[in-house]
């Protein structure tokens, strides 16, 4: 069918202005498709990084032991040891599990932590706080503490505390000053303020403090083990599958971030659906544009089609000529639109550098190959109706025109 390809190419090059307009129309459709893909994908990335990026993607928490019950031989409950408010469940074998979990594919950070509640006192001022003890050197494993520091350093050590700017302002604290922290276990300790952060999360900035794991052990009277293990993944969309894997590997109750995030997932799904609609409309526009242009071409070339048929061109040959035109228009328009889309997205910052107030366009989510493929398929489908119409041309009537 090389000859049909030649005729299709000749028809397209014979009407350069018309073909250029048609290709431009297809390219604009593909450009919109790619722009929407990059915007919707980038927006989802931006929202996730803002809402989930600084939290644990998979969390393993110590399970509270069931209350101890004393039962008589007759089956009667004689006594129950209620859970003490100060008692904290622990993952006693955390040191064993951490290297195993760190070796799971996709895991980029593992942070064993001791967390609990406490009161921070400075003079007459008291603030209720959530205390997180992390290993020195892993302060930014989950929350990007280093990136949020506004004063001092995130580096933790014995007797040091890092807290949020709101809390520091509330307590009128400055770097190097001391503060008294009493834990829910009843242990008090005097800590020196070594760093102040501002994460933009009101609850964290106003009530979250970070101490070293050893300081937290003392505060919560936990000589061994941790209360939770937080895990960060390279791709947070793999959290469900990775959590299952960790569960199978360790037997621990690994909970992905998606548990309890149904509203966020619904919002992201709704956003993705909107993107699909817009991209579908862009494709429909392409199909209608190609179909109408080729239909016009069919009517304009009816006498020529009649001649071809009279000279022995089969209906299949005529169909192939017009379908090939659709294919070429789709391919050239697709490649042009994809190229223009890529160039238009180049000036935008990469997803790692997304900032509030700017369009979060992710150049890596342009779906270039998919856009070209769907456009070519769409253009081929669009050309079938004109091609069938051309193949049905009656040579006698057409030649007589």
């Amino acid at each position: 069918m090389l000859y049909a390809l030649k005729i299709a190419t000749r028809y397209l090059t014979a009407s350069k202005a018309q073909t250029a307009l048609l290709v431009a129309g297809v390219a604009v459709g593909v450009f919109i498709f790619i722009f929407m893909s990059a915007l919707i994908g980038g927006l989802a990335e931006f929202i996730l990084s803002r809402t989930v990026g600084d939290i644990s993607h998979i969390t393993i928490e110590a399970e509270e032991a069931d209350p101890a019950i004393l039962i008589s031989p007759g089956g009667q409950v004689l006594g129950v040891i209620e859970k003490g408010r100060a008692r904290t469940a622990t993952l006693a074998d955390a040191e064993t599990w951490v290297p195993l979990i760190a070796a799971v594919p996709g895991v980029i950070a593992v942070s064993p932590q001791i967390s609990g509640a406490g009161f921070l006192t400075r003079g007459a001022q008291v603030a209720q706080v959530g205390v997180t003890g992390v290993e020195p050197g892993r302060e930014s494993a989950i929350l990007n503490l280093d990136g949020y520091m506004v004063e001092g350093t995130a580096r933790l050590g014995s007797g040091l505390v890092v807290l949020g700017q709101t809390l520091a302002d509330d307590l009128s604290l400055r770097l190097g000053q001391t503060v008294r922290l009493q834990s829910s276990a009843g242990v008090a300790s005097v800590l020196t303020l070594s760093g102040i952060y501002k994460s933009g999360n009101g609850a964290l900035d106003g009530g979250g403090i970070y101490v070293s794991l050893s300081t937290a052990r003392t505060l919560f009277a936990l000589p061994q083990g941790v209360t939770r293990i937080e895990i960060k993944l390279a791709d947070l969309n793999t959290a469900d599958a990775t959590a299952l894997r960790i569960r199978a590997l360790t037997g621990l109750d690994a909970v992905p971030w998606t548990d309890g995030a149904e509203q966020l997932m619904e919002a992201l799904n709704a956003q993705a659906q909107t993107g699909y609609f817009l991209k579908t409309f862009a494709l429909i526009t392409i199909v209608i544009g190609v179909a109408s242009a080729l239909l016009l071409s069919t009517y304009r070339r009816r006498p020529e089609i009649g001649i071809m048929r009279a000279m022995g061109a089969r209906r299949g040959f005529v169909i192939f000529v017009f379908v090939t035109q659709g294919l070429l228009i789709g391919l050239i328009g697709g490649l042009t639109g994809a190229g223009l889309g890529y160039l238009a997205l180049l000036p935008f910052p990469p997803r790692e550098a997304f900032k509030s107030g700017t369009l979060p366009l992710d150049i890596t989510q342009g779906s270039y190959g998919l856009a070209i493929l769907l456009t070519v398929i769409g253009a081929i489908l669009a050309s079938i109706l004109p091609a069938r119409s051309a193949a049905r041309v009656d040579p006698v009537t057409a030649i007589g025109q």
């Binding site: 069918m1 090389l2 000859y3 049909a4 030649k6 000749r10 028809y11 014979a14 006498p303 020529e304 001649i307 071809m308 048929r309 009279a310 000279m311 022995g312 061109a313 089969r314 209906r315 040959f317 040579p395 006698v396 030649i399």
Partner: protein, 226 residues
């Protein structure tokens, strides 16, 4: 002369239905022998063009039979008839009907290229030979739209001969040409008929053109009258 090339018997062609039906051919019968050069004469509306269209397998008669080269061309499907037409029948139309976006050579080799799926070197060589024979050696690669009326018609004759068909049907081939160009085209047709034995059936109103043919077939009121 040798045996029959084609035999059309009792051809009837009716356009439309009911009260609006128009019977153009009314039981026309015609035999053409291989190597004949015949003129088809008759007034407008006598059925000449309809007869050529049926003999060219571009249209089916309402009834009757049509056999060419021993093949029943009433029974064939579209694909078979298209293939038959491509191999055995050439057409020359009054208005040349060249493909406007193609050169003279590309127009001439179209019937072979469409048969073989590509433009072969041998097809190009034959196309050049034919155009040279038509006196168009200097116009081989000219866009068809840049040729004069007479040149276009000679390209159309070359195209009709490209696949060495047994039959060439020409519908008023000189009707749109001046006398000099008309005579050039007819001389070429006569030369090919003489040298290659190709059968020509030429529809014309022009008595002088008809006189150049060895046989005159007169059609009137849908039948052969002379």
């Amino acid at each position: 002369m040798s045996g029959a090339l084609l035999q059309a018997t009792e051809l009837v062609k009716t356009y439309g239905h009911g009260d609006a039906a128009t019977r153009v051919l009314r039981g026309l019968s015609l035999r053409l022998d291989t190597g004949e050069m015949a003129a088809l004469l008759g007034p407008s509306g006598s059925g000449k063009s309809t007869l050529l269209t049926i003999l060219g397998t571009l249209m089916q008669p309402t009834s009757g039979s049509y056999i060419m080269l021993g093949q029943d061309l009433i029974a064939g499907n579209d694909a078979d008839l298209t293939a038959f037409r491509n191999l055995h029948i050439g057409f020359v139309f009054q208005f040349h009907n060249l493909l406007p976006d193609f050169t003279a050579l590309e127009n001439v080799i179209f019937p072979t290229a469409v048969k073989e799926g590509r433009e072969t070197a041998s097809a190009r060589a034959r196309g050049r030979d034919l155009l040279t024979r038509m006196g168009l050696a200097e116009r081989i690669d000219f866009p068809s739209t840049n040729l004069s009326g007479g040149q276009k018609q000679r390209v159309a004759v070359a195209r009709a001969l490209m696949n060495r068909p047994e039959l060439v049907l020409a519908d008023e081939p000189t009707g749109n040409l001046d006398r000099e160009s008309a005579m050039q085209v007819m001389d070429l047709i006569a030369e090919i008929n003489r040298d290659e034995g190709t059968t020509f059936l030429i529809s014309t109103h022009d008595e002088k053109i008809a006189a150049l043919c060895r046989r005159q077939i007169v059609v009137g009121d849908g039948v052969v009258t002379g």
